[in-house]
Amino acid sequence: MRMFLATFLLALAANAALAHGPTPQKIQQSIAVAASPAAVWAVLGDFAGIGTWHPDVARGEGSGGNGEGATRTLTLRSGGTLQESLDEWKADGMTYSYRMGEPDLKALPVSSYSATVTVVPDGAGATVSWIGRFYRGDTGNEPPDALSDEAGRTAMNRYFADGLKGLKAKVEGKPAP
């Protein structure tokens, strides 16, 4: 039986190695901030104001404020533009959800994403969670490396992590990293 199992698992491993295709990918990042949740939300909650705290965003412009359907256009320092629209914005839950419009592979090597940011109380401070779901830049079965699941994960993780570090620095009143 042990040998059966070993063979079975090997077969599965071989199978997994061949995996490619349109599988949605998860991104999940969080950071602790030494400030009250309300103080964090005062900075984070301004949908179009992301350029004031995200170090990768050179310029952010918005329309529609924080209403559902509001949009923001973010020009990244590395080049490329993100067009995003606001789906839900809840001050009482200190959370908002948004998704991308048309992809710009120069900005992020992904074909679509949606994401949610949330502030939750954490002891005397707050924790900010940023979760998202994306599809890689080329959803065909033979994507080039630059548009693979791995490339998408790397870029999205970096973008979320940089943003959270920048937000923390801004709220805590320290120089941006």
Binding site: F4, T7, A11, L12, A16, L18, P22, T116, R133, T139
Partner: protein, 314 residues
Amino acid sequence: MIRALAAAAILALGLGQGGRAEPAIYVASQEAGALTRLDGPAVVGLRLGSGPAGLAATADGTLFLTHPEAGRITVVVPGGGDRRALPFRGQPFGIAASADGRRLFVGDWQAGTVSRIDARTGSVEAAAPVGREPAGIVLDGEARVFVAERGGDSVSILDADTMALRARLPVGRAPFALALSPDGDRLYVGNVRSNDLTVIDARGLLVLATVPSGRSPYGVATSRDGGLILVTNQESGSVSVLGRDLVPRAQIPVGRYPEGVALAGDRAYVANWFSNDVSIIDLAGLREIERRPVPDGPRAVVAVPLRGRGEADR
């Protein structure tokens, strides 16, 4: 050896047991590559590998799963304790099975086609071009195939015998999931980007109404009597419940990023893709009564009807 072990695994799944009294609920987890039977005393699973995305079942309990990443369809057969793979040239995603289980209708996400396949041999009998990104597919009792064209903002209706296009109806933006009412008079279409539900007169092939849902509706199902329509709102983490009159009845919080939904008896089962669990909803109280962990990335859920009672849960 592998075959013997697979047979053992399937028996453990409960597929080999005849004469069951309860509907069987199956969940496909794309990330984990797993098929899980949910409705037993414990969650038991079968490793299929390579991201199963689409899931269809016939009344005898045969399951069909698409693997877009691998260009393959897995058939899991009840009773005989067997499963087999059908090769598919392309990127199979949405899938529907004929009532007798002989024909499969499979969308190719990348090619923008729907193929009719012999479910025993896997050979392609016919193929039809459809709109971009064919997503949900359903078959009605009058040999018509409804296809959600996510990239075309439309639903196409094919003749299942000739695969000719009978009609194409514009719907909301990015239609993904489809559900047919139990008596086949209505088709419900979840539009992911316009955050609404299009209701189609399935006999007259006309759009009857468009009503708002929550954010990113990714799954739709109806109750057995057609009186309730459930819509999963992926981005809102909730399920909207509407009456047949399309009046909202409830908004039920569930796990994170809910997608597929299936109804059986007085329960609804919602696959929560991000939180890796299934929300079980009591349809009488319209509230979540349990959240059960499943392997990573559950997206599709199906209820295999009660055997021998002529019921047709969707």
